[in-house]
Amino acid sequence: MTEEKAPQPAYELKGRKKPEKEGWIRWWGLGVFVGLTGLLALLWLFLVDPFVKRMIEQTGTKLVGAKVELGAAHVTLSPLGLTLSRLQVTNPDEPMSNAVEAARIAMSLDGLNLFRRKVIIEEMAVEGLRFGTPRQSSGAVAPSREPSAVAKLAAKVPMPSFEVPNIKTVMATADLQSVKLVEALQADIKKEQENWKRRLAELPDQNKLNDYKTRIEKLKSSTKGGLGGMLGATGEVAAIQKDLAQDLDRIKSAKTDFDRQLADLKQRVDQAIKSPQEDIQRLQGQYSLSPQGLANMSGMLLGGKGGDWVRTGLTWYGKMQPMLAQAQVQSKGPEVVKPIRGKGVEVRFKERAPLPDFLIRAATVSAQLEVGDLKGRIENITPDQQTLGKPLTFAFAGDKLQGVQSIRLDGAMNRVRPAQPKDHAQVRVQGYQVQSMTLSDSADWPVTLGKAVADADLQVTVGGQALAGQATIGLQSVKLAAGKPDAANPVIKAIGGALSTVTAFMVKADMTGTVEQYDIHLTSDLDRILKDAVGRQVQALADQFKKDLEAAVMAKVGGPLNELKSSIGGLGGIGNELTSRLTQGSLGSTLPANPAEKLLPGGLKLPF
């Protein structure tokens, strides 16, 4: 057994002397590490500002769907914070204007949470916030954009003309359903007439039925030839009886079919007779000349403007939705999320003090509106309210503004339970000086609120998609102008006169429906005032229009309708013919059950 020899060190193989013993620490290496780390930190300090700027612009643009631009971003380390200058967020629906522009945004960050990849902004100050500012270049990122569902609802409420429509013009463009119905029915009746003529020809006629009678008479006379003759005749009678019964069944079946079809056609004729009245009612409604229309005159007068405000509010509400969209489901145990090929998967565990990945605890906002500065505070801005357990709240106020005594806006957007989102807002405006507000820009029927002082209270709640809201607006010192001074129409003149005497009125609005399909119901004192002033005149005009319409429609439908009545009468002949044939053929019923008995003399019965 040989002992393995230990290998010789390389220095011995090369005949060099053993190197001096060195320690395990490489001091210059430690220096290199410190130097490298320092260099990286220095690079980070120089590059972090442009990096943050680029990241905000890219993320914002992706989120908004239009360019988000930033003048500058500055990161401070002690205390950890970020200051943004001139943030511009393009309005995706109008690329040449900014939806929002902020002069300066300063925020302090929670550094420890930043290491945990959570952006927690403790306090944020937004200064110089402005809306709808013009842009020097287009901020569109996509060539075209489909308008949102809310924007599509921008159609204005048409104002009534109060002119009696020209009956010739109405009839020229009218699509009369009654005429179509009568014509279609006439064609059907004609077709049925042809069908039944053909079917009658195929059925046994009078001659054939008479032939049966002749044959029976002949048999009767032949029975006088003795018993043998009688027995032969019995068989023939049975054959005649069978043929006759078959023919009568065919006629009966045809009669049943005919009666059913006739009843159906008569029902359609009844409908056709009523159809001109339906056309008249539809046309009346189409030309909206009814005194009932005055009952909601305030809806027509104020609905357009109110609708504009609601649309604007809902558009902004829609724009805020991505910010509140649920980012993730709160973790209760190990949970595997987001599998990415080649990058592994993230496994999430329950957090002891869970915080969303992004949170602005509080933001103080100073907005520059046309009427002056509005200051407010927004709390708990996060796309993951479920994790935070608190809803977003906001409160804004402005006093002694230009043309407005005070504005208060507060509310909450609650997504703590994502399946049951509930948002509400309340707006209170006091002493709003209205100056030359166009309520209707219709060329025939312009309505302008020249002057008024308004107090408004609006409450809106959105639960899921369901929208509910109430608004009460009180207007004092009112000066209203409606219609053109040289208007020839007496109704328009009367309405204009009535509105010019109004000095104060109340408007109540109820909003119902969904965010995309909402309905605003407006009621006001104006309705009563206008109804009193012009109700009778409008009724007279409506009556006259109805009379003219009836005459014109009947002139067009009356003739075809009479033809229709005579056509349906013509079908009666076919029914009579069928009945007559049935009567004629009923002679078969006079034959006995056993034909031979009838034929035996003196009622003599056969033994078989």
């Binding site: 390389a10 090369k14 060195e22 620490i25 490489r26 592994g344 998967v345 496994v347 565990f349």
Partner: protein
């Protein structure tokens, strides 16, 4: 490839202690198999620079192991996911998940966990195996390699000269 072979031979044939070369390979395995921009790799870098580890062995190993990592990622993912979703370890992972340091380490990523676990478990065996292999090489193969034409050519190259002069600085590059 030839350059890598030359570098390997230069390292093995140098007077550097086998332990320093082996440590270089082992640290390279950790840094190469796990995602490079991980927090623990900062510690690896600190150790590689501060401890007298053979830097050439580390850089050579880093190249090799980084290449291997691409093919081994599915295996690391399976190991990591299985460990992270073990019911018995849930308490530990939850505690780590609530620590800022470990969140920064990104331990809850299946590939980070799988590759780190794999490389840490393989660290000591690779060290022992590598040490043994270097010693055997130097005892039985080095003399023969020194005489080969390739080695003669290598020794004449500028690279080898540079390496020898720098390795003389201590600890070996």
């Amino acid at each position: 490839m030839l350059r890598m072979l030359a570098r390997l031979l230069a390292v093995l044939n140098s007077e550097t202690h086998p332990g320093q070369i082996s440590l270089g390979f082992c640290f390279a395995m950790v840094a190469g198999l796990t995602p490079f921009l991980s927090l623990h790799n900062l510690l690896v870098l600190l150790l590689v620079l501060a401890i007298r580890v053979n830097l050439s062995a580390f850089l050579l190993g880093l190249t090799v192991f980084s290449g291997l990592a691409f093919g081994l990622d599915p295996l690391f993912h399976r190991i990591g996911l299985s460990v992270l979703t073990q019911d018995t370890l849930e308490g530990l992972w939850t505690a780590l998940y609530n620590s800022t340091f470990w969140r920064l380490e990104h331990f809850n990523n299946s590939i980070v966990m799988g590759s780190l676990l794999f490389s840490l478990v393989s660290f000591a065996p690779l060290y022992v195996l590598s040490n043994f292999a270097i010693r055997r090489y130097r005892a039985h193969v080095l003399a023969w390699v020194e005489k080969t034409r390739v080695m003669q050519f290598l020794k004449a190259s500028r690279f080898y000269g540079l390496y020898q002069s720098f390795s003389g600085m201590g600890g070996g590059l």
